[in-house]
């Protein structure tokens, strides 16, 4: 309650100096309670605040499908926002509402995943490259042969599909690599841990594990069961990055998949509203790979680790050239008027 009152007081205070803060930006996201998405939303809030040009954010953030996102985007149009930054439920399903928004003069930026509606701007992580980069490194570590446990994301999700393409591309380059087990973690920590425990207990032979970002619990499972460690590839989640520098005998690599792409999307929307059009409608953010087997890789991991971050958050909390907020601002997770 105190926070609410404080928030109201701050809103009133900020309204007084609203002259410089002109834009109203809407946000639509369809996965709630996931570390990556929470960081994305915090990056959006932090960027809106740091830009000094956003009067208010209108956030539609809940667990729903593309039909629900159509509803959210149309509600944001009704709310009269100047721009909408959206993490699309899938590439085609929300095109109708995006078209309605851009027809109404609203700038639409899709972040994280692409949409096929040509009037939208896209700022997305390259998901195919994400999987390819990690899988290739893993297969090299395995000496180009052996069996890999393939722990995917959610069946039917667009990003999982793109990553599968990248994984298959790496597989094609290493003909002696086979898949020992293929499972869908649903990007759920508990589910992924149960699955790897089952695989270890079943005694299926494997020489490496590729994960779609459910990573730190996989390392936990190996440590707890005392099973011999194999090379593991994950995302740059804070918990996994810390394990790469601390768990004895663990060879692994973190592939960046910055949730801060949401902040970059807000930055792009503000640029367009200011009249600065980007050269291309689609901007792809390419992943980087940080491994712990070379001196150079370990230095990168050490630089990225941050004990203040929630273990499920990606450590790549900013994107050079796009986001302008500070580390403290994104951790505080406060938007304009909060």
């Amino acid at each position: 309650m105190k926070r609410l009152l404080l928030g109201t007081a701050m809103t009133l205070g900020l309204a007084g100096m609203a002259a410089a803060q002109e834009y109203k930006i809407g946000i639509s996201n369809t996965v709630q309670g996931n570390g990556w998405r929470e960081e994305m939303v915090c990056a959006m809030k932090a960027e809106a605040l740091a830009s000094g040009k956003v009067a208010s954010l209108n956030i539609a953030h809940r667990n729903t499908d593309a039909a629900g996102q159509l509803e959210d985007i149309r509600n944001l149009i009704q709310a009269g926002v100047d721009a909408i930054v959206v993490n699309p439920a899938n590439a085609e399903g929300i095109n109708a509402a995006i078209k309605e928004a851009t027809d109404a003069g609203i700038v639409v930026v899709a972040v994280d995943q692409a949409v096929t509606e040509p009037s939208a701007y896209i700022l997305s992580n390259n998901q195919e490259e994400y999987a390819y980069l990690g899988a290739k490194w893993l297969f090299e570590q395995m000496g180009g042969k052996g069996a890999v446990v393939y722990m995917r994301g959610a069946a039917g999700a667009g990003a999982d599909n793109d990553r599968d393409k990248g994984f298959k591309r790496a597989m094609a380059e290493f003909p002696e690599i086979t898949v020992a087990q293929e499972v869908f973690t649903g990007w759920q920590q508990d589910q992924g841990k149960q699955q790897i425990n089952d695989i270890i207990a079943a005694g299926v032979p494997f020489q490496g594990v590729w994960t779609s970002g459910i990573d730190n619990v996989i390392v936990d499972a190996f440590v707890e069961s005392g099973a011999p460690l194999v090379p593991i590839v994950g995302a740059d989640n804070a918990g996994f990055v810390a394990q790469l520098t601390s768990v004895e005998g663990l060879k692994g690599a973190a592939v960046t998949n910055p949730g801060s792409v949401g902040g970059a999307g807000v930055a792009l929307a503000i640029q367009i509203l200011d009249g600065k059009m980007p050269a291309e409608k689609t901007v792809l953010v390419n992943p980087a790979l940080w491994e712990n087997v070379t001196e150079e890789g370990r230095a990168k991991l050490a630089a990225a680790a941050n004990p203040n971050l929630s273990p499920e958050w990606p450590v790549s909390v900013s994107i050079d050239g796009w986001t302008t907020y500070t580390m403290d601002q994104i951790i505080a997770c406060k938007g304009p008027g909060e």
Binding site: N58, D65, A67, E71, A79, E92, G93, A96
Partner: protein, 317 residues
């Protein structure tokens, strides 16, 4: 007159609540008008169709936890078949998908009647089966919807600017399917097995057969709901949306008694529109999204409790 009013008090109350909410929306956002009503109606359409299906099984004393998964099967089947189909072919595809819905529902009902396992267990198991079927048909969002189908729920009704086509579509299909059944012997039987299956059996109602029909009708509306998702998005989605819990909530809020036998179809449909309007207002007010879910739930509990108090008073008087 008095009796009609008493019998429909709950539905009338919901209609008043909805009108008040729409008025509040206009106050929050003075620009709210035809396009706002249209987006509200389009958002409500899949929820409303799922709710009608759920209401029918609940009235008949059951529950169908697989409704959202059946919608996903219908959505992907329609979208996959319509990809590249002509307008004429699409009409047959739509009929085929509706038939598929009837079939899926009938399978649910048959399993319940034959196995005598409780409906909640059977349909929970079938939820996973239909989910798997949907992913087998299409493992990622894709497919297409023909333009004429998408146009059925887009924009205003010709000549009446304020009347969204999605509302006309909903009213038409629901009336065409439900009204003849409600007025026929079958309607009475559905209510009869819902309020007291033993009494219904002793009065000569074929309980098993009626139950299977109730589930088949639920499947039919699930197929319509799945098609409406495809109409809205233009693609098929293999992962079920949030329609199961939303439809149960709307059925309860709409005055249908869980356990069966009492309630109607209009109440739950009005409840769907009420819940969608609440969601819209929360977005317009830019309420913290984590708080918004709590607000939605609280409103639902408050309305149902308020109604229960009123009903108890009415009985005393």
């Amino acid at each position: 007159m008095r009796r009609w009013f008493d019998a429909n008090a709950w539905t009338l109350g919901l209609a008043v609540l909805l009108a008040a909410l729409l008025l509040a929306t206009k106050l929050i956002q003075p620009g709210f008008g035809v396009s706002g009503l249209d987006s509200l109606a389009r958002a409500a359409l899949p929820f409303a169709l799922a709710t009608v299906g759920m209401a029918i099984v609940v009235l008949a004393g059951g529950i169908d936890l697989s409704i959202a998964a059946m919608m996903a099967v219908a959505s992907v089947t329609g979208a996959v078949l319509m990809d590249g189909a002509s307008d004429g072919q699409a009409a047959f595809i739509v009929l085929g998908v509706l038939g598929l819905g009837l079939l899926m529902g009938a399978v649910n009902g048959l399993l319940i009647v034959v196995s005598r396992v409780p409906d909640i267990v059977v349909t929970l198991a079938m939820l996973f089966v239909w989910q798997g079927v949907a992913l087998l048909i299409l493992n990622a969002p894709g497919g297409a919807a023909v333009p004429w189908l998408r146009a059925l729920s887009t924009g205003s009704f010709p000549g009446l600017d304020w009347l969204p086509r999605a509302v006309v579509f909903l009213a038409l299909v629901t009336a065409l399917i439900w009204l003849p059944i409600r007025r026929a012997k079958l309607g009475l039987r559905l209510y009869a097995i819902g309020s007291d299956p033993l009494a219904a059996f002793r009065s000569g109602v074929p309980v098993g057969q009626t139950r299977i029909i109730a589930y088949a009708l639920c499947g039919l509306f699930a197929a319509l709901g799945g098609l409406s998702v495809t109409m809205g998005t233009g693609i098929g989605e293999p992962i079920p949306g949030p329609y199961l819990l939303a439809s149960v909530a709307a059925v309860v809020l709409g005055g249908v008694v869980l356990g069966g036998g009492r309630g109607g179809i209009l109440g739950p449909v009005l409840a769907v529109f009420t819940l969608r309007t609440v969601r819209m207002d929360l977005t317009l007010l830019s309420v913290d999204p984590n708080v918004a879910a709590i607000v939605e739930g609280t409103i639902m509990v408050a309305v149902v409790m308020f109604g229960a108090v009123l009903a108890a008073r009415g009985r005393k008087g």
